[in-house]
Amino acid sequence: MSRPTIEIKEISTPFTADAIESLQAGDVVSLSGIVYTARDQAHKRLCRALEAGEDLPVDLRGQTLYYAGPAPPPPGAVIGSIGPTTSARMDPFTPLLLEYGVRAMIGKGNRSAATRAAIAATGSIYLTATGGAAAYLSQFIVEAAVVAYDDLGPEAVRRLELKGMPLVVGIDSQGRSALWPDCL
C-alpha cells in the first residue's frame, strides 16, 4: 500500500526571522546546529536572574532551548539517552524568556495559552520531538558540554550540537498549533 510521503525541511540554528516565518505548524523538519538544554530548575534560575537584572550565565538571545535532561553517557559516548521532557512545566517561565530573546524551543506536548500568545507576539517557534524516543534521538547529537548550573546534574544547561534531528513544528510564529486538539 502506498503511503503519503512527508517533505522534510532542513533547518539550522541560530534561526533568522525569515527562517522562522517560513515554517508552518505541522511541518516536518530536520534540525542541525547549536541548542541549549534547560528544564525546570534551570528555567527557575534563568528567570530569577532576569528578574534581578543580572546577566545570564550563557547568552541565550536568538538561541534555541531544548527541554531535556540526558541520562549519563556510557563510556565513549557523546551523551546518554536524551528525549524531550514535558514542555507545559516550562510555561510559567516561557513568556519572560521569549521577551528576553530566546527564539525557539524544543519539547513535547501542549503549551499554555499565554505561551502561545508570547510565541506569536515575539515571532518565535515551538518544535516538538517524539517523547519516548530518547535512545534514538540521542544519535542526532554530535557534541555535548555543560555550560551552566553544573550542580543541577541532569538539569544543568548543556550546549548540544545537533545534526539532522527529526522534529515537527508544534506552534508556528503565527501561534498556530499542530498539536491535539488543534490538529483535529
Binding site: 512527508i6 525546570d40 501542549n110 519516548g132 530518547a134 515537527v168
Partner: protein, 277 residues
C-alpha cells in the same frame, strides 16, 4: 535465601527494564503503525520502534527518564533470608542504575535542593507475603512526565458507568498529549483513596490487550479503549488513530459510601521486568 542473590537479581531487572522493551509494547506499537494514517504520527511510531532497537543494540536506556522506581516483591512466607531483604533490594537498584549509566531521577527530598539524588533508598518497595518458598520481584520504572498525567477521583457510589467512563476519557483528554502517547492506561475502581492509586499502577503489569476476567471490568476496558482512541490524540499528540495501545481495568471491593477511581497513564515506554528466586 541469600540476600546477595536478591541484590543481583534486582540489579539485573533494573537493566532489563530500562534496556529491553516489553514484547507486548513492541507488538502493540507495530499494530498501531499498521493502522495509523497520519504521516507525522506514523513517523513518530517508526521512531519509537527504532528507539527499541537502538536501546537494545547500543545499551542506551529506552528513555532518558529512568523513572521513579517501584519494586514489587512477592515474598513466599516460608522463605528465610540471611540478611535484610529491603536493604538488598535497594542496594540492587543502586548497583543496577550505576552499572547501566541510568539516570537517577529520584531526588532526596521533595522540598529541598532538587539536584541531590537519593542515594540510599531510591526505590519504593512494596512487599506482599504469599504462600510458598519463592521470591518474585518486579521492577517498574515510570517517567515523571506520565506520572504527572495521572488522575484520581473519589466518585459518588451512585455514579453510573457513563460517569466513570467520562471521567477516564476526560482525564486522558486533559493530560494525555503531554504523557508521550500512544499511551497505556491502567484504571482501578474500588478500594480506598490510597489503595486505588496503587491498584491502577499494578494493572499496567498485565499484558497489553489482555482483558479482565471480571465481566464489568472487561466491558469498561472495551468501551474505554474505543472512546480514548476516538479522542484522536495520536502518537506524539500530532493527531491520529493510536492514542492508547491498551486500557486495563481492575475492579475490587470498596466502602459502601465510596467509589474511588484512579487512572494511571503510562507513556509509550511502559517498562517492567520480573524474575524469581
Amino acid at each position: 535465601m541469600r540476600v546477595d542473590e536478591v541484590k543481583e537479581l534486582t540489579a539485573a531487572l533494573c537493566l532489563e527494564a530500562n534496556f529491553e522493551a516489553r514484547s507486548d509494547v513492541k507488538k502493540h506499537l507495530q499494530q498501531a503503525l499498521a493502522v495509523e494514517k497520519n504521516p507525522s504520527a506514523r513517523s513518530a511510531i517508526e521512531q519509537l520502534l527504532a528507539n527499541i532497537e537502538t536501546a537494545r543494540e547500543s545499551r542506551l536506556p529506552l528513555c532518558q527518564d529512568c523513572g521513579y522506581i517501584t519494586v514489587f516483591a512477592e515474598v513466599g512466607q516460608n522463605v528465610d533470608f540471611d540478611g535484610p531483604l529491603v536493604e538488598a533490594i535497594q542496594a540492587g537498584v543502586i548497583a543496577g542504575y550505576e552499572q547501566g549509566h541510568l539516570r537517577q531521577s529520584v531526588i532526596r527530598h521533595a522540598l529541598s535542593a532538587r539536584a541531590e539524588p537519593e542515594k540510599e533508598q531510591p526505590a519504593k518497595v512494596y512487599i506482599d507475603l504469599v504462600p510458598g518458598d519463592a521470591l518474585r520481584l518486579t521492577v517498574m520504572p515510570k517517567g515523571g512526565g506520565s506520572d504527572n498525567a495521572c488522575h484520581l477521583k473519589m466518585m459518588r457510589p451512585t455514579a453510573s458507568e457513563d460517569e466513570i467512563a467520562d471521567f477516564v476519557v476526560a482525564s486522558v483528554g486533559e493530560t494525555g498529549v503531554n504523557a508521550c502517547p500512544p499511551l497505556i492506561i491502567g484504571v482501578a475502581i474500588g478500594g480506598s483513596f490510597d489503595s486505588v492509586a496503587l491498584g491502577a499502577k499494578k494493572t499496567l503489569l498485565r499484558n497489553i490487550g489482555e482483558l479482565s476476567k471480571d465481566p464489568a471490568a472487561r466491558a469498561l476496558e472495551e468501551r474505554l479503549f474505543k472512546e480514548v482512541n476516538e479522542l484522536g490524540i495520536g502518537a506524539a499528540g500530532l493527531g491520529g488513530a493510536a492514542t492508547a495501545l491498551g486500557v486495563a481495568v481492575d475492579v475490587g471491593p470498596t466502602h459502601m459510601a465510596c467509589l474511588p477511581v484512579a487512572v494511571n497513564i503510562s507513556c509509550n515506554q511502559l517498562r517492567s521486568a520480573a524474575g524469581e528466586l
